[in-house]
């Protein structure tokens, strides 16, 4: 009887149609209400894995991942239902990406698919998968703003972002040239 009562009282499982309040009032300003941000410095969240989104939010809260821009939103995040927020954005449909420099994107595709064997850069597709769709362990990258991707890879390279799993992204980014970073980001933006 108690179990049944609990079931009845449970809120409906993460309704995608109904955005959590914090998404509408706080996150939407930068990330868009459906997670498809317009400004290229703010990452698109739509369709990213819930595991990844929740991990990032928790690590912004603990300070393991740092962002001055996110700092202002942390009080709101502190009281939010993070699993619900994460699954809301994960269930949003990602807007189609676009490429502005085809030549750069083609160079990026080579790195993304095959890496650079001379400098030991692994193919991005190894973890993030062939279409950059990711999985529950490695985030989706497809369609992300190039500006944001470049900033993150540079941060891994500089060590200013250090919440990567087993330091793997820092090891990879350290081997990438600025040209490779820009090219890969451009390719990813069009996926």
């Amino acid at each position: 009887m108690t179990a049944l009562a609990a079931l009845v009282l449970l809120p409906p499982a993460a309704s995608a149609a109904e955005a959590p309040e914090v998404a509408k009032t706080v996150c939407a300003a930068c990330h868009g209400v459906d997670g498809n941000s317009v400004a290229p410095t703010f990452p698109k969240l739509a369709g990213l894995q819930a595991e990844y989104l929740e991990k990032q939010m928790r690590e912004f809260l603990t300070g393991k991942r740092k962002s001055e821009i996110m700092d202002a939103s942390l009080p709101a995040l502190k009281s939010a239902d993070l699993p619900a927020l994460a699954s809301y954005y994960a269930s949003q449909k990602p807007a189609a990406g676009s490429v502005s420099d085809e030549k750069l994107a083609a160079a990026g595709k080579a790195i993304f698919d095959d890496g650079n064997t001379a400098s030991g850069v692994p193919a991005c597709s190894g973890c993030h998968l062939a279409a950059a769709q990711g999985n529950e362990r490695y985030p989706r990258l497809a369609g992300q703003h190039a500006t944001y991707t470049v900033a993150q890879v540079q941060a891994f390279k500089a060590g200013t972002r250090s919440n990567d799993k087993a330091r793997v992204m820092r090891a990879v980014a350290a081997r990438m040239t600025e040209e490779e970073i820009a090219a890969v980001a451009e390719y990813i933006a069009g996926l």
Binding site: G115, T117, G120, P122, A123, C124, S125, G126, C127, R137, Y138, A166, R167, V168, A171, V172
Partner: protein
């Protein structure tokens, strides 16, 4: 004449086509010379024994590996070794599919311990990435993957001489068909990419690999780059047999 000079001359002599017998005689004399000079190969330094099952190598060998978990752990490795661990024909990264579990465990733990010097791989196999159980899981997963005959092959030069050399010098450990010997940590070499085999044999000869059987270091010492290339080519063409 110091040992390095001796080896250079031995290789040069072998290149002049003096043949197998000469190479063998020089090899024996190189051994004697090295012993007389008190030369230590890198493998003989400290208390490292190339095939000893100790420390985390023993832990990983004793652990029961799980191929499903291994497939997940291997995701980090795919960026270089490719999906299904087929490696790359250009030799930059070896094929790992179908390799013996014991060999894979030895190589992973040796890279972690810095015994096999491999700066490219180290950050992805280091202790903050995986532990002995993960190594056991990855090894089982890889050992069960199928191997095709689409590995990179060499130009096909000097294959008769290479076959003779292989039968004379390599077969005892790596087997008639290049199947290796799991119990003794000798890798399977059939189905492997030619360029990778060539690169590693040269590294072993020149003392750059660090974790080879010292017996092999001595065997390949008098061989020229061309002879090692022909041997690698021969091995890359060996017919495929189930490794287990």
């Amino acid at each position: 004449m110091n040992p390095a000079e001796h080896c250079r001359r031995a290789r040069a002599a072998a290149r002049w086509g003096l043949g197998l017998l000469t190479a063998f005689v020089l090899h024996a004399s190189a051994l004697a010379q090295a012993a007389a000079a008190g030369e230590k190969s890198p493998d003989k330094d400290s208390d490292y024994t190339w095939d000893a099952a100790q420390g985390e190598k023993l832990q990983a060998l004793a652990a029961k590996g799980d191929a499903t978990r291994g497939e997940i752990s291997f995701e980090v490795c795919q960026g270089c070794h490719r999906r299904n661990a087929q490696g790359r024909p250009d030799g930059s990264y070896p094929r790992l599919a179908g390799q013996h579990r014991s060999v894979l465990i030895k190589q992973m733990t040796d890279v972690r311990a810095g015994r096999r010097r491999n700066d490219t791989m180290l950050p992805f196999v280091d202790r903050h990435v995986i532990g002995p159980q993960d190594i056991a899981d990855i090894a089982v997963y890889l050992s069960e993957l199928p191997v095709g005959s689409d590995n990179g092959k060499g130009p096909g030069r000097d294959q008769a001489e290479a076959e003779q050399l292989y039968r004379f010098q390599c077969v005892e450990c790596h087997g008639e068909q290049g199947q290796g010997d799991a119990a003794r940590f000798y890798p399977r070499v059939n189905g492997q990419h030619y360029r990778y085999l060539r690169r590693e044999m040269i590294a072993i000869r020149d003392g750059a690999r660090g974790n080879a059987d010292p017996k092999m270091v001595e065997i390949v010492k008098p061989l020229s780059d061309a002879q090692l290339a022909a041997l690698a080519d021969y091995m890359s063409r060996l017919p495929l047999l189930a490794p287990r």
